[in-house]
């Protein structure tokens, strides 16, 4: 099986190189057979990599411990779903996963892209093939998942218990899908530069890909937060560690792009900036993959041990230099078609939005790399942690929240004072009302008040937009309110889907601000002893230690500590937190013990209990107890955001209006003529 896997990898490499070579040398331009061959190469690469992936899965499921990767990440007693997920538990498998998924996306891009954009496709195939070739080369020469051991061990080393969590089976692939799918917009951007088709064609061709990858990233990041929350047991969901930051970076630049691209579509501005953002997002996605699975930042020493780091850095540098050089060469062709007319315009709001997003991305990147930078420059390593990131990003984030409310309210080009007054009265009043209400219930935390007040302002904006749209339909079409809402959204999916995404973001912000009111306590309790906590919502929790029980379960030995919960005097069941010692099939301990957090959630707050250990083998147990306000709203925000995103990219919809169509065609006149004269 490994032989077939190896062979498939080589086949994929050669095919990818062939496809990229033919496409980039431009030989296909008067040879339809070669053009078909370029498209075909993406399908062939995809088929070869799928075979390789199946080979690795077969090795995992048949417990072929002679394969080093199978030995490293699975064991005979590992539950089946985790054997499946072990595919991406390590670096080598992750690389194969990356390459395989990218090949699927690359083939899909060739298939689903409208024929209007046919001229771009060979270039797109070239770029995706080059990226796939990079991953396959890295595997073949530095991190081959099919490497065999000189002997066959009896059993594998098992999967890290922290990865044995349902969230962990979907979080990495989801995040990877986000990272990987950015390659497609990048390929279209570079294709437009290479082919000099610099109108908005490439943007139309890949618009849904950008939303798709943004959605995957959003979902992947949130699932990561959820995993950290339920599995790592330190009481929160975001700690600004390098791996988390790395996933946030491309999300930030993609979000900036999703906004700035609207200016290019409507006004023909920011063409260079947009290409730059897509290139940056792609580079950051590669950087993120690299950080996640190499450990460069957490431990600089692992860097020299694994040559994968060298491959990734070389690729990053090369891709960065070539892309920006190409952008530089095409610079004169990307002249903006319009200029900024007023500071009170939607363009200006979008420009500030972009600066803030890129500013946040830069500060996060700077903070993440600062240990390395300071060591290189000053010889002493200096680290920055959550205080740094919060200090820089909370003000910038709140500025962005304010823009979320302002942007949709002001007109394109130049807003009149009348327009401003008519638009802002309701949302601003909503924000002020929220702040007053919160002051009345006794909240004095300045940051939280600002965040929640701005959230009220943005919700006011969105509600006003929906209300005006519905009212217009009620008046003109005489529909019922529900029909009006449904039609409104389905006729303007991008606009109203976008508003729903904004609501999702606002829900996140409201939840994040809840962190300011967290209550934590560490206690050691004897059996029957009780501790009492008061939550920020005013509830009183009485927690009584019931004792510790120990028993074997599946592939582990469990010590479970249980608390009886009384909320406001009434009994509210029990909450259990476990220490798990994982064992192999011979009953020997594997790994360090891991903690299973006990969590009880409701819409107001989470009671979060960690059993930290017993005092010298007695039933006296130490607990870390946290009351986390509003955490549930993080997960709710994610669902709203994804729903909104799906609405914006849902296929079909009403026919393009005549005016828009003529715009689109006008955009195509020049390049189509160019192709004809060139052929």
């Amino acid at each position: 099986m490994t032989l077939l896997g190896q062979f498939s990898l080589w086949l994929a490499l050669l095919t990818a190189v062939w496809g990229a070579g033919v496409a980039l040398t431009g030989r296909w331009q008067d040879r339809p057979d070669l053009q078909r061959s370029v498209t075909g190469s993406t399908y062939a690469v995809c088929a070869a990599l799928l075979v390789a992936a199946l080979c690795l899965w077969k090795g995992l499921f048949t417990h072929d411990f002679n394969i080093e990767y199978v030995y490293q990440y699975t064991a005979r007693n590992l539950p089946t779903s985790y054997v499946f997920a072990a595919f991406w538990a390590g670096q080598k498998g992750s690389l194969l996963f990356w390459a395989t998924i990218l090949s699927i996306f690359a083939a899909a891009a060739q298939t689903v892209t409208s024929r209007r954009h046919e001229g771009l496709l060979p270039y797109v195939a070239a770029i995706t093939n080059v990226v796939i070739a990079f991953f396959v080369i890295t595997m073949l020469f530095a991190a081959n998942p099919f490497d065999r051991l000189p002997f066959t061990p009896e059993d594998g080393r098992g999967l890290n218990p922290q990865l044995q969590n349902p969230g962990m089976t979907i979080h990495p692939p989801m995040l990877y899908l986000g990272y990987i799918s950015i390659t497609i917009p990048f390929a279209f951007a570079v294709a437009s530069l290479l082919s000099k088709r610099l109108d908005t064609g490439w943007i139309h061709a890949m618009r849904k890909w950008t939303i798709l990858s943004w959605l995957f990233l959003s979902a992947g990041i949130t699932l990561g937060m959820w995993w950290a929350y339920v599995e790592l047991g330190w009481g929160g969901y975001w700690s600004w560690d390098p791996v988390e930051n790395a996933s946030l970076l491309p999300w930030l630049t993609m979000t900036a792009f999703l906004h700035s691209v609207m200016i290019q579509e409507k006004r023909g501005m920011l063409k260079r900036w947009n290409v730059g953002l897509v290139v940056a997002s792609f580079l950051l996605s590669i950087f993120g993959t690299f950080i996640t699975r190499s450990g460069v930042i957490a431990s600089v020493h692992s860097f020299t041990q694994s040559s994968v780091g060298f491959y990734f850095l070389s690729f990053l540098l090369l891709a960065g230099i070539l892309s920006f050089a190409l952008l530089y060469v095409r610079w004169p062709l990307l002249e903006p078609e319009a200029r900024l007319e007023s500071m009170a315009s939607r363009e200006a709001a979008f420009l500030f939005n972009n600066l803030a997003f890129v500013g946040i991305a830069f500060s996060v990147l700077w903070g993440t790399l600062f240990p390395i930078i300071s060591e290189a420059v000053r010889g002493t390593k200096i680290t920055v942690g959550p205080p740094f990131f919060n200090r820089v990003n909370v003000p910038l984030g709140l500025f962005l929240v304010a823009l979320t409310g302002i942007g949709p309210l002001i007109a394109w080009r130049k807003a009149s004072p009348e327009n401003l007054r008519r638009q802002f009265v309701v949302p601003v009043s909503a924000g002020i009302a929220v702040v007053i209400a919160l002051l009345l219930v006794g909240i004095r935390n300045g940051w939280a008040l600002t965040a929640w007040g701005l959230a009220g302002f943005v919700l006011g904006t969105v509600t006003q937009e929906f209300w005006r749209g519905i009212r217009a339909r009620l008046r003109i079409h005489g529909e019922s309110a529900f029909e009006a809402l449904a039609h409104l959204v389905s006729r303007n999916r991008r606009r109203y889907g976008g508003y729903i995404v904004h609501v999702g973001i606002i829900i996140y912000i409201v939840a994040f601000a809840g962190n300011a009111f967290k209550v934590t306590r560490e206690v050691t309790l004897s059996t029957g002893e009780t501790t009492e906590l008061r939550s920020p919502f005013g509830h009183v929790y009485q927690l009584t230690h019931l004792g510790v029980s120990q028993y074997p379960q599946l592939n582990r030995f469990v010590s479970a500590a249980t608390l009886a919960v009384k909320k406001d005097g009434a009994s509210a069941g029990r909450i259990t937190s476990e220490k798990r010692q994982h064992q192999d099939s011979f009953g020997r301990n594997t790994f360090e013990p891991s903690t299973e957090v006990g969590i009880r959630s409701n819409l107001q707050e989470d009671l979060y209990v960690v059993y930290a250990g017993s005092v010298q083998g007695t039933e006296r147990a130490t607990y870390a107890i946290t009351i986390n306000p509003l955490v549930m709203w993080v997960w709710i925000g994610a669902m709203v955001l994804i729903a909104g995103g799906l609405i914006t990219m849902w296929p079909g919809g009403p026919a393009v209006t005549p005016r828009q169509r003529s715009d689109v065609q006008a955009g195509y006149q020049a390049p189509l003529a160019g192709v004809e004269s060139g052929s």
């Binding site: 990865l163 790592l232 190499s294 420009l351 600066l355 500013g359 500060s363 200096i382 680290t383 920055v384």
Partner: protein, 138 residues
Amino acid sequence: MKPGSKFLIGAAVIVAGVTGLIVTGVKETGIYFLTPTQLVDRTRTDSTFHDVGLKVGAKVVPGSVRRDSRTIDFRVTDGTSEFPVTYTGLVPDTFTDASNIEVIVEGKYGRDGVFHATEVLAKCGSRYEAEVKKSGKA
């Protein structure tokens, strides 16, 4: 004034703001991350280093871990320099008495020659490449 130049002023304000936040942020929240040898050398030449909070990345000396209810004492080393660490609080699961534990301790290196840690991070072996587990208050 043209809107273009007005925007440039706004942009300059944002860029300056971000830069200012980053620079002051690093200055006020940045923490030295030293090896035991670097720390010992620094404190010898500059005794104010005893008073600043910093992080030390090192290996736990095998067999040096003493647990006493919630206080844990152990020694750390980088092969050249070695000193004792004392910590009160919960340590992460990955902090065990096994021989290959790498830790990051945060706190102050007292004039008594003992490192008083306020936080202990333990890096687990080589299994999940970039995994560092966290304890204490975050």
